[in-house]
Symmetry: C2
Subunit: 101 residues, 2 copies
Amino acid sequence: MTDAEGHPDVEEIDLVSVLTALADPLRLQVVRDLLADEEGAERHCTSFGLPVSKSTRSHHFKVLRESGLIQQVDRGNSRMAQLRRADIDSRFPGLLSALIT
Amino acid sequence: MTDAEGHPDVEEIDLVSVLTALADPLRLQVVRDLLADEEGAERHCTSFGLPVSKSTRSHHFKVLRESGLIQQVDRGNSRMAQLRRADIDSRFPGLLSALIT
């Protein structure tokens, strides 16, 4: 079941939604940056340096969250993004590693 | 260099273009069907049974061709589609196999 913030359960993660989320240069950059971090790393949404407005950035993170690629968690006043690496690897083995060639 | 029909050279194949091409259920179905065939198989564009008009089908095959996912070749009166499996595997190892889970 998708939670109140739009995170789908692992078995609900849909390949077309994931591919759609990745098929944008800025969202792909976010996922690649998270892949380059250590597993489980949490990054502030502003830390990726996306050259867009706050509302556009929020849109991109919403698409990533609703596709199942990232988990967003609130830490005090900050909203952090974490790659759902194990979930994506279990659903589509090899997909994430193909993005960092 | 991209040829007159819009096939990019292997080194010009772009990940975002490939992901964009795959991020559509019908185009993804075409690629999965080609993956299920033997390597090098040529399929007529009508053989995938896409539930769309001829012009929409042509559009989908154009997107696939221009992304580098497929090669289209004319055989007499027929236009055949072939997956560029080796080219995609060399550019983005693991990407195609992640689509057939």
